[in-house]
C-alpha cells in the first residue's frame, strides 16, 4: 500500500453522470509520483493513442486535480491541475495553494479526474461519503467573491448536522466568468486570489460546465511509512522555513521594483522594455497604504509570504486581492504601462474575480495595447482607446475578454491564437509582438539582461513553454525545483534541500533522493511532456525546427536601462538547446530517442515519434 497516498482517485464522467473510484498500480504511482507527473501518465493512458485529435475544449479532454504523497504533510499544501492544455496542446502541471488539497486527502481521495461534459452547470462535492454532482446554475456567472461566499454558505448548511458541532468551510477550486466562457488561458482559482494560472485549465473546466470542485473531509491524513520520522522532520523543516525572514517580509512583491531597476528583466509595455526606475511601484508603497494582512498562508505553511491588500478609499474602494505578488504586479503594472500601486491592485482584483490568469491575460492585453500603439488595432476595433497606463481601459478590456464581447472574443483565444487571427484580419505580421512560447504566455522574468534566473533556453526548451515556474536549466536541477514540487505537490516556496528529500523518503518509504529524482523520475515526466508537445493538435502543431525558441521580442535589443543593447543570442540559444537535448537523451531537434524512452520505461511513446525523427 503506497504510503502518503489515500490510494483512491475519483473518476467522474459528467456526460453519463457516473462516478467511479480508481486505484492505480503501485508501480505507476512510484514512477510518476503524483500531481504533474501522475496526471501526465493518466492523460497518456487515456488519450495518448489519438492525442492530436483530442480537442482540449471538448468533452473528451480530462480535467485532472491531483495531490501528491507529500501534500498536506510537507509545508505548503497545493493541488495540481492538468489536462490537455488549450494553449499548448501539450500538458502542463499547474498548481495552486488551497486547503482543498488537504480536505481531499482527509476525505479519502488523492485526486479527481473529470471527463465528459455536464448538460447544465454543476459542481462536485466530495466528502468522506464520496462524490456528488450538484447543480451549479445559481453559481454560474458569479465572480470569485460571490462564488466563495455562496459556496461556503451552501456547503456549510448542507453538511451541518445538529448538535455535532459547527461545520467548517470546505476547500474548493472554482472558475470565474473567464473560465466559464472558455477564455483559452483562464485560470483555475482558489481562495479568491490564488490561481493555477498556466495551461488554461479554467477553460477546460468551463468547457465541461464544471463550476467548482469542493471537498470537506473529516478523517486523519493518510498513513506514512515512518510516522515518527515525519513528525521530527515536520518540526525541522518548519524551523528552517521560519528563518526565511526576507521571503516572509517581502513576499515576491518587492520584485515590482527591483526586477526592473536591478535585474532589468521585468516586462514593460508588452516587453518593449525591461527596465524602469519607478520608485512608487516599490514594496513600501503597497505595504503602508494597502496591506491589511501582511502575512497570509495556506495549510501547513510558515513561509507565509502572501499579503492581502484592500483599497479603502476612492472609486475602487473594497477591492481585495493579494498584492503585491510579483507576477500580477508586473503583468498588471509596468507591462500595461501602469506604475501606480492602486491601479495595479485594482486590476489584480478585477482579474481575480473574473477568474483570468493575471500573467496570461495581462500578456494578451499588453499585446493588444501594443497593436493599438502601432495602429494595427484602432479605437474602432476596440470600441475605446487603449493607452498604456489607462487602468479603466484595461479594466474594461478584461471584462470584454471574460465575456467574449467584441474584440474580447478574439483576445480570449490567448496571445498566440489572437495574433494568428489578427494577422489574417489585418494582413499585418503581428506575431513578432506576441510574447509566448508554445502558446503559453511568458512569465515576468526576462532573459535579455542575463541577470535573472531563467537561462537563454529557460522557456524555449521547456515543454511548459512560457511557464516561469518551470524553466529549463540543465536537465538535472530543474527537475528538483519545479517538477518535484509540482508532483509531490507542495509549494515551491517551502522547498528545502535536503529536508524535502528526507521527508519524501519518510512519507513514502521509497528510495527517493535528489539524484534519483533528477536523473530518473524528473526526466521521465519531462520526456513524457515533451512527447505531448511534439504531438500537439488539433488546431496548432509545433515545429521543432521553429517553435522551440524564444519569442521574437527576446531577440530585439533592450532599448533602455543599464543593459541597453543586450538581447538573446541566437547562436548561444541554439548551442545550449542542443546541449540540453543531449543531456535529456533527445535528438538535436528535441525528439526523445528510442534508447532514452527505453531507459525511462517509456517505450510505448516510441511509435508516434518514429515518423517525426529524421
Amino acid at each position: 500500500m503506497p504510503r502518503g497516498y489515500t490510494g483512491k482517485i475519483l473518476d467522474v464522467d459528467l456526460t453519463e453522470g457516473r462516478i467511479r473510484e480508481l486505484k492505480l498500480p503501485w508501480r505507476t504511482m512510484e514512477d510518476f509520483f503524483g500531481g504533474r507527473g501522475l496526471a501526465a501518465k493518466i492523460l497518456w493512458d487515456r488519450l495518448g493513442d489519438h492525442w492530436s485529435e483530442v480537442d482540449p475544449l471538448g468533452p473528451e479532454n480530462l480535467f485532472i486535480a491531483l495531490t501528491g504523497p507529500l501534500t498536506a504533510f510537507y509545508p505548503g499544501s497545493r493541488v495540481c491541475v492538468s489536462g490537455k492544455s488549450p494553449l499548448s496542446n501539450g500538458v502542463v502541471g499547474s498548481t495552486t495553494s488551497t486547503e482543498f488539497a488537504m480536505e481531499l486527502k482527509a476525505a479519502g481521495y488523492d485526486g479527481v479526474i473529470v471527463s465528459g461534459r455536464a448538460e447544465k452547470p454543476v459542481y462536485l462535492l466530495i466528502t468522506d461519503e464520496g462524490c456528488e454532482i450538484r447543480d451549479a446554475s445559481h453559481l454560474w456567472g458569479k465572480i470569485g467573491e460571490e462564488t466563495i461566499k455562496l459556496l461556503n454558505r451552501e456547503v456549510r448548511e448542507l453538511l451541518s448536522k445538529p448538535r455535532r458541532g459547527l461545520q467548517r468551510e470546505p476547500g474548493f477550486l472554482y472558475i470565474g466568468p473567464a473560465g466559464e466562457n472558455r477564455v483559452r488561458n483562464a485560470a483555475v482559482m482558489t481562495k479568491l486570489f490564488h490561481a493555477a494560472g498556466y495551461g488554461g485549465y479554467g477553460a477546460v473546466m468551463g468547457s465541461k460546465n464544471l463550476k467548482a470542485i469542493v471537498a470537506k473531509g473529516s478523517g486523519p491524513l493518510p498513513e506514512v511509512a515512518a510516522p515518527e520520522t515525519v513528525k521530527i522532520l515536520w518540526r525541522e523543516v518548519h524551523r528552517e522555513l521560519i528563518k526565511r525572514d526576507r521571503m516572509r517580509r517581502w513576499g515576491t512583491g518587492y520584485g515590482g521594483y527591483y526586477v526592473a531597476a536591478d535585474t532589468s528583466s521585468e516586462p514593460v509595455r508588452n516587453w518593449q522594455e525591461e527596465w524602469h526606475d519607478e520608485r512608487r511601484f516599490g514594496g513600501p508603497n503597497f505595504q503602508f497604504r494597502f496591506w491589511v494582512k501582511p502575512y497570509h498562508a495556506d495549510f501547513n505553511c510558515t513561509t507565509s509570504c502572501m499579503k492581502i491588500s484592500c483599497i479603502k478609499t476612492g472609486k475602487w474602494k473594497g477591492d481585495i486581492t493579494d498584492m503585491p505578488d510579483y507576477e500580477m504586479e508586473a503583468y498588471l503594472g509596468p507591462n500595461l504601462g501602469v506604475f501606480d500601486p492602486e491601479g495595479a491592485i485594482h486590476l489584480s482584483a478585477v482579474i481575480d474575480n473574473l477568474g483570468h490568469s493575471g500573467i496570461n491575460i495581462g500578456n494578451t492585453m499588453a499585446f493588444a495595447a501594443e497593436l493599438y500603439q502601432r495602429g494595427v488595432l484602432t479605437e474602432e476595433d476596440l470600441g475605446f482607446k487603449l493607452e498604456w497606463g489607462d487602468v479603466e481601459a484595461f479594466d474594461r478590456l478584461a471584462h470584454m475578454i471574460a465575456r467574449r464581447e467584441g474584440i474580447g472574443d478574439i483576445l480570449a483565444e490567448g496571445t498566440y491564437r489572437a495574433a494568428l487571427k489578427i494577422r489574417k484580419l489585418k494582413g499585418v505580421d503581428v506575431l513578432r509582438y506576441a510574447v509566448h512560447v508554445k502558446g503559453i504566455e511568458v512569465g515576468a522574468h526576462g532573459i535579455r539582461s542575463g541577470r535573472d534566473y531563467p537561462t537563454p533556453i529557460g522557456y524555449a526548451a521547456s515543454p511548459q513553454g512560457g511557464d516561469h515556474t518551470s524553466t529549463t536549466r540543465d536537465g538535472y536541477e530543474d527537475m528538483a525545483w519545479s517538477v518535484f514540487g509540482d508532483s509531490a505537490v507542495v509549494c515551491s516556496f517551502c522547498f528545502h534541500d535536503p529536508l524535502i528529500w528526507e521527508f519524501a523518503r519518510a512519507v513514502t518509504g521509497w528510495d527517493i533522493s535528489k539524484h534519483r529524482w533528477c536523473t530518473e523520475h524528473g526526466r521521465r515526466i519531462i520526456t513524457l511532456q515533451q512527447v505531448f508537445i511534439l504531438l500537439g493538435g488539433p488546431d496548432v502543431y509545433w515545429d521543432p525546427d521553429k517553435d522551440f525558441d524564444n519569442p521574437p521580442r527576446f531577440y530585439e535589443p533592450l532599448p533602455s536601462g543599464p543593459y541597453k543593447g543586450m538581447k538573446a543570442d541566437r547562436e548561444i540559444v541554439e548551442r545550449m538547446k542542443r546541449e540540453y537535448f543531449k543531456v535529456m537523451g533527445w535528438d538535436e531537434r528535441g525528439i526523445p530517442t528510442r534508447e532514452t524512452l527505453q531507459k525511462l520505461g517509456l517505450s510505448y511513446l516510441d511509435p508516434p515519434l518514429q515518423e517525426m525523427r529524421r
Binding site: 455535532r164 491524513l221 513528525k231 515536520w234 491589511v292 494582512k293 505553511c301
Partner: protein, 173 residues
Amino acid sequence: MERTVWIVRDHLRCTGCRRCEIACSLHHEGWIWPEASRIRIFMPFPGLEVIHLCAQCDDYPCVEACPVEALSVDERTKAVLVDREKCTGCGVCIDACPGQVPFLHPKDGKATICDLCGGDPECVKVCVEAGYRAIYAVEEEVNVNRKLFARPPLEVARDIAVNLYGEKGLEVV
C-alpha cells in the same frame, strides 16, 4: 484568586497556516487530523481567519448543561475535561456554549474540548515559534471576561471583515 494558563487569541494576526491544528491533533490523536483538533480555524472568506477555541468561561455553561455529568473542570488548570466513558454524544454542551465551541469527535462522536494540554498548550508553541503570536499563553486570574471570547465564528468574522475591508466587509460573510 488563582492564576491559570489562558490562551490569548488575536484573529487579526492569524495567517491561516493551521499549524495549531496540526500540533493539537499530533498531541491528542497521534497524527495530523485537523477535524479532531480542539483548536479550529474558521475561514468564511479569505483573510478572515477566526480562531475558535474554548475560553474557559468562569461559569462553565457546558459543564452545567451536561445531562450525564461527563464534563468537569480541572482543579489545577481550570480547563474543561471530558469523561469519554460517560459522554453519550448528545451535543447539549455545544448548544450551551455561547460560541458553540465543543464538537463531537469525527471518529467516536464524543464531546471534544480543549484541555489546555494539562497547562502547557501545544498550539501556542508553534504559533509563537513561527513569530505570528496569533495565539500565545498567559498566566492570569480566572475572570468574567473570558466568556466574551466564546463567540460564534461567523459573528467574529463579520467584525474582522469590517476591520480589514471597511464597508466591503459588510458584504463578504
